[in-house]
């Protein structure tokens, strides 16, 4: 009788272990559209914002008016005015890579010490939070400016991304 009981317990434990291991997912690379989204600024958000900024900059034609061909751009400061810790290189690196690949501009990483830059790129990321009942919303505004040697703005752009989540009423 006791042996039977022990056997049943062992079987239950084995089944439980199996079911738990069945729920676990081994780490894997995600390449499709179903990446997790957070209320913060995700890597995909930086990429999409950078892409929109590059589109705007290339369409404006301002790079063709530069004295250098391709135009020389110094990447200045991107101010993080959000409550989150962000590495703004996620934005600027995307822009630099795209500009360099386009052949329309090269970027000077020395801050203008070694070259005579045509433009300086600077910007700001701003966060605005709203809470309405169980709904939480964060709007991130990306502002970028390209100023010429006289300090005049040659190109400016602003893009927004809004994220919303709803908290469970049960308080989970």
């Amino acid at each position: 009788m006791n042996t039977k009981r022990i056997l049943v317990h062992c079987l239950t434990a084995a089944l439980a272990a199996l079911s738990w291991s069945g729920c676990a997912t081994a780490p894997h690379v995600v390449e499709g559209p179903n990446k997790a989204t957070s209320m913060g600024i995700d890597t995909e958000d930086f990429s999409s914002q950078a892409d929109q900024m590059i589109q705007s900059l290339l369409t404006s034609g301002v790079l063709d008016k530069a004295s250098h061909k391709p135009a020389v751009i110094v990447v200045g400061r991107i101010v993080n005015n959000t409550t989150r810790q962000l590495d703004t290189d996620l934005l600027t690196k995307n822009i630099r890579v795209a500009l360099n690949k386009s052949g329309k501009a090269t970027t000077d990483v020395t801050g203008g010490a070694l070259s005579d830059p045509d433009f300086t790129l600077s910007g700001k990321i701003i966060e605005n939070r709203v809470r309405q009942g169980n709904i939480r919303q964060s709007t991130y505004t990306f502002q970028l400016s390209l100023s010429d040697q006289t300090g005049m703005a040659a190109w400016e752009e602003q893009k927004e991304i809004t994220k919303q989540s709803e908290r469970s009423g049960a308080g989970f």
Binding site: E44, Q55, T59, G61, D64
Partner: protein, 138 residues
């Protein structure tokens, strides 16, 4: 009394249904001045539901002043609810080889009921001659 309760219930249900299905009204010029250069396209539809969520109305292309190819994909949500979808644009050179780009990744978008949205993209460089757009449900 009983009838009025049923009527109230129907009114509430109808209001809830209408609120959920609030769609988009659109106004535009009767005879558009801008002439679009539409691209004859070939479509591979493997998900009919997705095809209703984001119906591709057409692809318009142009070359911008810097010599780069620009495309605009017009999408329509034929359903009665707000939908989330993702898209990926890939670029190809004259030899049909894929051209890598920082923007060649899945981008998320939301589309309202009966809304038409335009997705625009600019080729990463002048070697790009072709493109491919992929759409997926989120």
């Amino acid at each position: 009394m009983r009838n009025s309760s049923w009527t109230s219930l129907w009114v509430v249900a109808a209001a809830a249904f209408l609120a959920a299905c609030a769609s988009v009204n659109t106004v535009e010029r009767q005879a558009p001045v801008g002439k679009r250069q539409m691209v004859p396209d070939r479509r591979v539809i493997t998900d009919q539901t997705l095809n209703r969520i984001v119906t591709v109305l057409g692809v318009n292309e142009a070359t911008i002043s810097t010599g780069l190819l620009k495309i605009q994909v017009e999408l329509l949500n034929q359903t009665t609810s707000t939908q989330n979808f993702a898209y990926l644009i890939e670029w190809f050179d004259a030899n049909g080889m894929i051209v890598g780009s920082t923007s060649s990744m899945w981008m998320n978008r939301q589309i309202l009921p009966q809304q038409t949205v335009a997705i625009t993209a600019i080729a990463p460089n002048e070697s790009v001659k072709d493109f491919r757009i992929q759409l997926a449900r989120k």
